[in-house]
Assembly symmetry: C2
Homo-oligomer: 142 residues x 2
């Protein structure tokens, strides 16, 4: 890998860090933090234990535990003990959780649309192709 390639990747990383900061702003208009939103999203997508969340988000388990407790206290998620392994608790969104997530998604979608507002419509598909290219080549090897 050439010096210039590395330079370009690092430049993109800085660039995209900014983009992510912009699009993450959606959470400011809800009363959720980015992490809370992400957790609800992932639970909705099929993640169903704290431990899986841990592996995915690579955060401290104590911290995750607390955030989950907060979401539970707010009535957005519920926990049910796995009868095959009493240590594990399955996570699920409550109806209110689903409602909250729907709103979060609506706002996050809007942020993406705003981001693309000034983009030439003909360039949208090529951009997404570029994203998919990066994603498939850089497949998470952790």
């Amino acid at each position: 890998m050439e010096k210039e390639d590395i330079y370009n990747v690092r430049e993109f990383d800085r660039f995209y860090t900014n983009i992510l900061q912009l699009t993450d702003k959606y959470h400011l208009h809800t009363h959720f933090t980015i992490l809370e939103s992400r957790i609800m999203l992932e639970i909705d997508r099929g993640i169903n234990t704290a431990n899986q969340l841990l592996n995915l988000l690579k955060l401290d388990k104590g911290y995750i535990s607390r955030v989950l407790k907060k979401l539970e206290n707010e009535g957005l998620i519920s926990k049910t003990t796995d009868q095959n392994d009493l240590r594990v608790k399955f996570l699920q969104l409550t109806p209110e959780g689903h409602k909250a997530l729907a709103e979060i998604n609506r706002r996050a979608d809007n942020q993406i649309q705003e981001l693309f507002q000034k983009v030439d419509p003909g360039q949208i598909k090529p951009i997404i192709q570029a994203m998919k290219k990066i994603q498939t080549e850089l497949i998470d090897n952790n």
Copy 2:
């Protein structure tokens, strides 16, 4: 913009958030935080006041001020008053700051190389093309 396009962008955003977390690990092997590293990098790249840093990184000015003071106390940067506007202080890396940054860059470069280790070498240029595509189309419109 179609629903599916938005979905794909959001998926890429989650994906690339992970990538960034991985590559940001470089700072763990130095005694600098991501922000300190970033600040030294940007000063080296020509940013030369706290105010410019603020606009770039969009963080609180009190916070930036403190981080700069810490870097100054550690002898990594120095400040010199602008004689044309006594309120502003120009920032510059000290020789030790340059040395520290060189080490940070070495490690950050290594992280990128690690990330690309399992990538088919023939795909490196196409990936970088894809990154450039995204960057030029999504030009920071804040």
